[in-house]
Amino acid sequence: MSSLAKWLPSSTPKPSAFLVRFALMAVTLLLIAPVVLSDFRLSLLAKFLCFAIIALGIGLAWGQGGMLVLGQGLFFGLGGYCMGFHMKIVDAGPGNLPDILTYSGQYDSLPWLWKPFASAWFAVPMAILLPMAIAALLGAAVFRQRIRGAYFAILSQALAGAFVIVIVGNLSLTGGTNGLTNFQSFFGLSVIDPADQRILYFIVAIVLLALFLLTRALVLGRYGRLLIAARDDEDRVRFLGYDPARVKLVAYVLAAGMAGLAGALFVPVVGIMAPALLGIVPSVEMVIWVALGGRTALAWAAAGAVMVNWARSSISEQFPSGWLYLQGLLFVTVILFLPKGVGGLVENARRFVGARVSLEGGRPRVEKRPAPAATSAPATKDGL
């Protein structure tokens, strides 16, 4: 039994334990999944991994920073439309108009809004920078005035709602409710060909893993400590001489950038970008993934996106209406009874088993060190 205890990660993970877990995750995503899954399931997984990138950002802004970002659909959509415009222009070929623009009959040449997106050097950075810029503007205005908690949540939500209305309203430029569809190619890769879809899967998986490592390093460093401090007691951080508005702004802007990048990857993977994917309802769903996975641990936040979407696609295939009840019920139960989500549940189970094992081994484990960043208590005091 004592040999078993060695393999169970302790409740305060050592760097090596993390490396083992990360390697397991990377092997699963990069080696096992592509072999085991069919083409269809793999491209489905690629889509969910795009969602996981958004969830990672929400885990940073909400889980670590305490900002309930209810409007991530806006940033996801901005990234998606930037990439979508570019792919549409490339598909049409030089001198031709993309099909979306021909429907209204208003345009003979590319309208000014579309023109710069002909260049990949503009479109790809824009997919990330534009969401970050908008988040920076809103965040600077809001955090500086100490608008927080529910106020911030509702403002960010309203912004996502307004964005959808703008997209739908400008039908001739954006394709309206139908959005952008019928993509052919993505930087020389075919969007339809299964082999190229596999390459896309690897791109998404590697981006996710890399972003996860970066975000984790950020959270474990000095900045992460400040962010958690700003979450738990903003005033005290201010009294200590830091500017909590700036601390929170960084996390919010990074989360927006991640959502934008996810949108840019989503378009070639799924082949569509439409307002129905980014309004108020989908934006709240993004937060639901993180809440179910576990808001306080980045890895669980990202895993939540995959778990919820996987469950949805397998359950709603058979019981379409059952899923909506189940989703609502799951959500209520998790927030009420498991504020740390599935991740918290697993953590507790592991601690329970770990305690049993070490008791049998005659060496009770006592927690002395404070809990690490990734497992600290969720924000309960989120001043309204």
């Binding site: 908690g149 106020y151 509702i154 403002l155 309203g169 019920l329 209520v332 927030i335």
Partner: protein, 296 residues
């Protein structure tokens, strides 16, 4: 001149609908700090109550059904609110962001319930005969349904003001809102007050639902469209402030009406949002601020 009058009336009419939805929120959100996303579904419940009454009483009694729907929708939505408070929200006081997420989950279930009960298709509610048509004053068309909504809002505001200002129950409610521990040690039963507050707030959502049936078809996702705007009204008005909510609703309604007239609906939406963010730069606490000690 006609144009300005017309747009003023449109603005007033938008404001009255916003206010009708927001009045319930000033109770639940403003006084109790509960962000009830299922408020939209309570509106839907009110709207479907009207529909059910109309179908049950038949085409001969449309006016009667509509009249009955007003109190009944208040009761139905209020009861739903009581159940929600008892089962869920009670456990989450002090966690405002979590109430938002939980009630969203509840809202999802209620939406699906409505879909299973009444079908995913929108249903139509007929306006009673006496509300068909309208009058024209100085070139501005005032339709009866919109006038009716404005009338209902005015009545509700008067009723709330009387209740809050003149009755012992209203006084207890204000006491709990201003200082919960002090109210509690003074002998006010705060849990009971919470339940009453939530009942009234949710009931008002039901009332709003009846009014909204006059404006268009009724569907399972009816509430959400109005809800976010109503939350913005409460934020701009100042938490829990009836006066603030009224001013904010009027301002947002007018801004929406005039920007939309000069540009388009989508620009109006974005423009109003921009105005709100700018306004909050100037007054982060809203139009009417309740004085309190302590940090912001």
């Amino acid at each position: 001149m006609d144009v300005i009058l017309n747009q003023l009336f449109v603005g007033l009419s938008i404001a009255s609908i916003l206010l009708l939805v927001a009045l319930g929120l000033t109770f639940t959100f403003g006084q109790m700090n509960v962000i009830n996303m299922a408020h939209g579904e309570f509106i839907m419940a009110g709207a479907y109550t009207t529909y059910v009454l109309q179908t049950a009483l038949g085409t001969g009694a449309i006016g009667l059904a509509f009249g009955l729907a007003l109190p009944l929708a208040f009761l139905v939505a209020g009861t739903l609110g009581l159940i929600l408070e008892f089962l869920v929200i009670r456990r989450l006081y002090g966690r405002p962001l979590d109430t938002l997420l939980v009630t969203w989950g509840v809202g999802l279930m209620l939406q699906q319930l409505a879909r299973d009960l009444f079908g995913a298709q929108n249903v139509n509610v007929d306006a009673p005969d006496f509300l068909n048509g309208g009058i024209t004053i100085a070139g501005a068309d005032l339709s009866y349904p919109r006038l009716f909504i404005i009338g209902v809002v005015v009545l509700v505001i008067v009723a709330i003001a009387m209740y809050m200002g003149r009755t012992p129950a209203g006084r207890r409610m204000r006491a709990v809102m201003q200082n919960r521990p002090l109210a509690s040690v003074s002998g006010v039963r705060t849990t009971r007050v919470d339940r009453t507050t939530f009942f009234i707030g949710s009931g008002l959502a039901g009332l709003a639902g009846v009014g909204i049936t006059l404006l268009g078809p009724v569907g399972p996702t009816l509430g959400l469209a109005y809800l976010i705007d109503a939350f913005l009204v409460v934020i701009v008005g100042g938490l829990g402030q009836l006066r603030g909510a009224i001013i904010a609703a009027l301002a947002l309604g007018m801004a929406n009406s005039f920007i939309e007239y000069n540009t388009s609906a989508s620009i109006a939406k974005g423009g109003v949002f921009l105005l709100i963010v700018l306004f909050l730069q100037w007054r982060p606490q809203g139009i009417v601020v309740q004085q309190r000690r302590g940090l912001a």
